[in-house]
Symmetry: C2
Subunit: 241 residues, 2 copies
Amino acid sequence: MSDPNGRSDHAFPEAQREGLYRAIFERRDVRSQFRPDPIPPEVLARLLEAAHHAPSVGFMQPWDFLLIDSREVRERVHDIFERENARAAEAHSGERGALYRRLKLEGILESPLNLCITCDRERGGEHVLGRQSIVEMDLFSTCLAVQNLWLAARAEGIGVGWVSILDQQDLAEVLGLPAHVYPLAYLCLGYVDDFLDGPELARAGWRQRLPLADRVHGNGWQAPPADAALTRAVDALAPRQ
Amino acid sequence: MSDPNGRSDHAFPEAQREGLYRAIFERRDVRSQFRPDPIPPEVLARLLEAAHHAPSVGFMQPWDFLLIDSREVRERVHDIFERENARAAEAHSGERGALYRRLKLEGILESPLNLCITCDRERGGEHVLGRQSIVEMDLFSTCLAVQNLWLAARAEGIGVGWVSILDQQDLAEVLGLPAHVYPLAYLCLGYVDDFLDGPELARAGWRQRLPLADRVHGNGWQAPPADAALTRAVDALAPRQ
């Protein structure tokens, strides 16, 4: 890119930028396409390193990574899922309920590896820089690590699914977590037969992607963006699933 | 990559993978190096699209994007920061307190654009698929959108800084947010003179990166990973800042 203001001195070359955007747009929440092949240790190490390089409030790095390959532990986690999912299914009745029950919502036993990313709520002591106003900033930081790992996995050809239908207390007990360590994300990882070309919930007719233009505001809630050129640029984006 | 198990059918070509890892490892929380040049609308649209393609629980897409370029609004937000920061500084005394006061912790007025990413806690109705067990999953989803944007910005040569030293209630008032919309991330965006080669808090001696090997566990808290080859692979990672 040539820019008279030298704006893009630090921009990546085209292929590198493409790689990042591809990971973002082709990443999926995978529940069904797992293959049994194990993830080689070198690849897994890269994924963990990517997660570990997320930003964190006060550089507190509150995360830990628990790699769960034991069949027994996974069966106990799967039991927690089954209980919670039965409870959750009750919230949806009629056609919507029937659709809910048809959806596959986890791959705990089918994927070759489960990974729990936790948040140590006490790491860095009582006063973590930048965390006085919003005490949840440690949880938010841990989420950023999850997304780094998710994108890196996509680039490596590995699928990731986040199982959120779990009782956190029960999960903490199975994993032997101390009281100050919160099991933030329970992920299923593995190579996959394919990555779907759109989110599974959209394909199943559960919910569709919202138009981005409706989600962009200006200097206050529901104020239009000050620059009308932005609205045009959003409208001009290539359609994606 | 050739693999007898065909594991990597879906892996990206080298340059694309490199682009993603580069964004992950070279991304910074920027507070000081902002240039005044505006971000072109096409580039900004790409960043918002990247955020909008984050995963979200039940595909609820709870985020909204408020683009804040008004000087007046930013001055009001800056006032909130100043109040909160004075309060936070009191937690650190002695040498640590002196260091705290020397740190630059935001770029609200210097960056050409502020962006508030909010979380609509009611989007998708009362029963969002996958959110029954962990009601905060909507906030966590919004964090994943923040990280997508942060990485995309890095690839475009744009710096991002997250200002977490803000009273959320005061911020919501300035932005006119309804009660069910939570201002999750207040970000400063802009082209930068340079990206530092390590986190600013590490360079300033506030806190250093933790060894990744210490953060990796096996099938339970503080159990060693079942596969010793993983420990070796983690130890073999190239040193990074």
